[in-house]
């Protein structure tokens, strides 16, 4: 399966996937809760520096990853003020009016906040997703988070099955086109197409899964309750430094924002 992961030797790559997750998840939660632009902005900058310095992500790749996010945020910010419920922003100054289209200052502000929060949310996940090998992640989940190993290995198998089924799907559809199968427009056509492709796809998937299962059994999979591991996943000193360091730094940023009166209130459920 195509993931964002790119193998490289950097401090972030060398960390345990779980420690990266332990930093990313609280950050992402924070992005869901804030209601002003400064916190997301601070964390976008912090995470970017993290990726560039600790992740050794080249500026070129960083920009390639970033530009779809920027486009998304820009579109969002451009459209949001017109879609937001007018009663929320009517009390703020009117900046622009053309027919029924009205742009309020409050609308623009909310758009900026929401755009930055989405950006913060997405970028916070990157240190984990672009520097963690999926096999290592599964290993860490099994070894440290006590995920049953059968489930872990099924997840790994899925990583191989998804691309196989994708290519199979395109072959089946080409094969059907060659037979002169017309795809009728509308939902009926789509449903019929899906049904026709489903049988060969399922046949292949089931056959493949059976073969994989046999091959795994034949190498003693599931023989014992516990299995050993060639690569032991554990938290090393650098993992603790990364986790605690990130938490402390995040705490300091929040305290500073609060000191300057920039940190608004945190809402569990808020109107977007």
């Amino acid at each position: 399966m195509q993931t964002l992961y790119q193998p490289y030797d950097s401090p972030l790559h060398r960390l345990n996937p779980l420690s990266k997750l332990l930093v990313s998840i609280p950050q992402m939660t924070l992005m869901l809760l804030v209601s002003e632009p400064w916190t997301p902005l601070a964390f976008v900058v912090l995470t970017s520096l993290n990726l560039l310095i600790l992740g050794r992500v080249s500026l070129r790749r960083f920009l390639r990853l970033l530009w779809p996010l920027l486009v998304l945020v820009f579109l969002f910010t451009a459209l949001y003020p017109f879609l937001v419920r007018q009663t929320l922003v009517q009390h703020t100054p009117l900046l622009f009016e053309w027919g029924i289209i009205k742009l309020y200052q409050g609308g623009l502000y909310l758009a900026l906040v929401t755009g930055l929060r989405i950006m913060g949310l997405l970028i916070s996940s990157l240190p984990f997703s672009i520097t963690s090998d999926s096999a290592d992640f599964v290993r860490a989940l099994v070894q440290q988070a006590h995920l049953p190993y059968r489930i872990g290995y099924s997840t790994l198998a899925a990583f191989r099955f998804v691309p196989m089924l994708q290519s199979e799907m395109s072959v089946v559809q080409a094969a059907h086109r060659v037979r002169g199968v017309d795809s009728q427009p509308g939902w009926r056509g789509s449903l019929e197409r899906l049904r026709r492709s489903a049988v060969p796809l399922l046949t292949t998937a089931i056959r493949q899964a059976e073969r994989t299962a046999l091959a795994m059994d034949a190498r003693a999979f599931g023989a014992h309750k516990h299995r050993s591991y060639f690569r032991r996943m554990r938290f090393k000193t650098w993992d603790w430094i990364y986790i605690l360091g990130s938490w402390i730094l995040s705490g300091l940023i929040l305290l500073a924002l609060r000191y300057f009166g920039l940190l608004g209130s945190l809402h569990v459920l808020q109107i977007l």
């Binding site: 191989r160 049988v199 292949t204 059994d217 003693a220 599931g222 023989a223 050993s228």
Partner: protein, 567 residues
């Protein structure tokens, strides 16, 4: 003591009426190399699964008898215990991986057994060195070639240090390069003499010198013959041919000659044997009776490809390919996996839309013709027949194309009936296509493609995964269609198919056309063959060996060529 002891074994699968194995008894001595043969459906793979306890512990049902491996009863000992004694290398290189990386794959079995990391490191190094794959250790399995995948899969078995190794058609999904790699490994294993080897395989000529013993299963799942290879192929040859079982090509030639009353001094089963066995017979051939293939006179173009290039993302698949396909050609497009054969064929059908001006169909611009009209002119048979099935019965499957083209009911009925009879499928008219055997599915996919009476038929790897009889039957049909004037285009890496059937061959490598001409001419260019990573079939190699003494044999490339020699 026998390392494999099978006593009166009867095995059944759920929802099948007949037993897959029937009262089968077999003893294999430690260190023996046994070749297991039999028609498709005779239970070869089933037998392989019983040897490590997967049957009955994971699939199937053991009705009677017993299997002991190195003294262990497979019904009493778990598959996990037996895994350290028996390893199976399966056919599909992709389906037998459990992890994403080579190293993870090698340790997978050892981890399951709870070995410590120190032992594992030593075993990884040893196993990878044994298969010559030390450089692959850090690679993702998805980036390996077919041959490399099988080597890694074998290394993952060797890491568990089994005494018995079973190879269940390990080269069936590989091109000739991959096949050579696997055979080289087999020879290496055999020469070390540490393992008992059981092989299921049908590319036999290159293997025969490794085989100590041949066991032939009959269609009922019992043993038809068991003995030394020369004895089996000599005495049971006609019976094997009858059942559609592959045998060494040189042995097949010996039987055909015997039918003509020629007795050879030695019954050949390897190329080395064959040179000695056939030399006296060949010596008396009149040089001028050697037929040379008549050059094709037809040259009305059916399709023209001009300067076609194509790439998948950054990966270039075709580089300015230009060929002309003439009406009535039996054209083979050959090359190793990834050479661009299928990509070219997909452009011919418009599955991949060719750029303007790149392909002309009967003189007209291809891109101007709507897909439906192309389907009237060209039929395309995919590698996996199941991919093309769109209906629920065999009858509807053939009738489908006719109905799409809005033929009237009478025509649909008449043509469908005709085709089903031609392809020997009439008695399955009401069956679901997915329930047919592999060979029948293949025939059905060809039949349903021909319903519209297309003039051009393109087939992707038509003989892939078929037994001798099905492969021969299909090619006979294709030759018949060709003789009726249809243009047949076959994508393949099977040079035997090419030499026996095609009148023209296009050899590709890395997206470029290396050669375009008569098959016999390509066969005489070893440097081109190796560049296209192709290997000649056994009989063509035999004639190359004999040609050092008898140069007129150079163009004798197929069984029919040999039988046409006059004395």
């Amino acid at each position: 003591m026998s390392i494999i002891e099978i006593r009166a074994l009867t095995v059944k699968y759920a929802r099948r009426k007949l037993a897959a194995l029937n009262q089968l008894s077999l003893h294999v001595q430690k260190g023996e190399t046994v070749l297991l043969l039999g028609p498709s459906g005779s239970g070869k793979s089933t037998l392989a699964l019983t040897l490590n306890g997967l049957l009955p512990q994971a699939v199937g049902e053991l009705r009677e008898g017993s299997v002991h491996i190195a003294g262990l009863d497979t019904q009493e000992h778990s598959v996990a215990d037996l895994a350290q004694t028996v390893g199976i290398l399966f056919q599909d290189p992709d389906a037998q991986f459990a992890t994403l990386k080579v190293e993870d794959e090698i340790v997978f079995g050892l981890e399951n057994l709870g070995h410590d990391p120190h032992t594992m490191e030593a075993r990884i190094q040893q196993a990878l060195a044994d298969v010559g794959a030390a450089a692959l250790r850090e690679r993702p399995v998805s980036a390996l070639s077919g041959g490399e995948k099988q080597r890694v899969a074998l290394a993952s078995l060797l890491a568990m240090q089994p005494e018995v190794l079973i190879f269940d058609e390990p080269t069936a999904n590989l091109d000739s390069m991959g096949t050579q790699q696997v055979f080289a490994l087999l020879a290496e294993l055999k020469s070390r003499g540490e393992h008992t080897l059981v092989l299921i395989e049908h590319k036999l000529d290159e293997l025969m010198h490794l085989i100590d013993r041949v066991v032939v299963l009959n269609p009922q799942g019992g043993i038809l013959a068991d003995g030394a290879p020369r004895h089996i192929f000599d005495d049971f040859g006609p019976a094997l041919q009858e059942m559609g079982v592959w045998m060494p090509q040189v042995a097949m030639l010996a039987h055909e000659l015997r039918r003509q009353g020629v007795e050879l001094p030695l019954f050949p089963i390897t190329l080395g044997d064959a040179v000695r066995a056939f030399r006296p017979w060949v010596a008396s051939v009149h040089p001028e009776t050697v037929e040379t293939a008549a050059p094709t006179t037809q040259s009305t173009p059916a399709m023209q490809v001009k300067d076609l290039s194509f790439s998948y993302g950054d990966l270039s698949a075709l580089q300015s390919v230009s060929i002309q396909i003439n009406k009535g050609d039996f054209l083979a497009i050959v090359g190793a996996n990834g050479a661009g054969k299928t990509t070219l064929a997909k452009h011919l059908m418009g599955i991949l839309r060719p750029p303007l001006g790149a392909i002309a169909l009967e003189g007209g611009e291809f891109t101007d013709i709507p897909t439906k009209a192309v389907a009237r002119k060209i039929g395309y048979v995919f590698q996996n027949p199941e991919h093309q099935f769109v209906t629920e019965t065999v009858w509807d499957e053939v009738a489908y194309g006719l109905r799409v083209m809005q033929e009237d009911d009478d025509t649909v009925t008449r043509k469908t009936q005709e085709l089903l009879e031609t392809f020997g499928l009439a008695r399955y008219a009401k069956a679901n296509p997915f329930t047919l055997s592999y060979g029948e599915k293949r025939r059905l996919s060809v039949a349903s493609m021909l319903a519209l009476g297309q003039d051009i038929l393109i087939l992707d790897e038509p003989t892939f995964g078929q037994d001798e009889r099905n492969a021969t039957a299909l090619l006979e049909i294709l030759r018949g269609l060709n003789q009726q004037g249809k243009t047949v285009i076959v994508v393949t890496h099977d040079m035997r198919l090419v030499l026996e059937n095609a009148n023209r061959v296009v050899a590709m490598s890395a997206g470029k056309v290396l050669f375009d001409g008569a098959p016999a001419e390509l066969a005489g260019k070893p440097e081109l063959l190796s560049e296209a990573r192709l290997t000649l079939p056994p009989l063509a190699r035999l004639s190359a060996l004999l040609a050092t003494e008898y140069p007129h044999l150079r163009n004798v490339l197929t069984l029919d060529n040999y039988l046409g020699l006059k004395h």
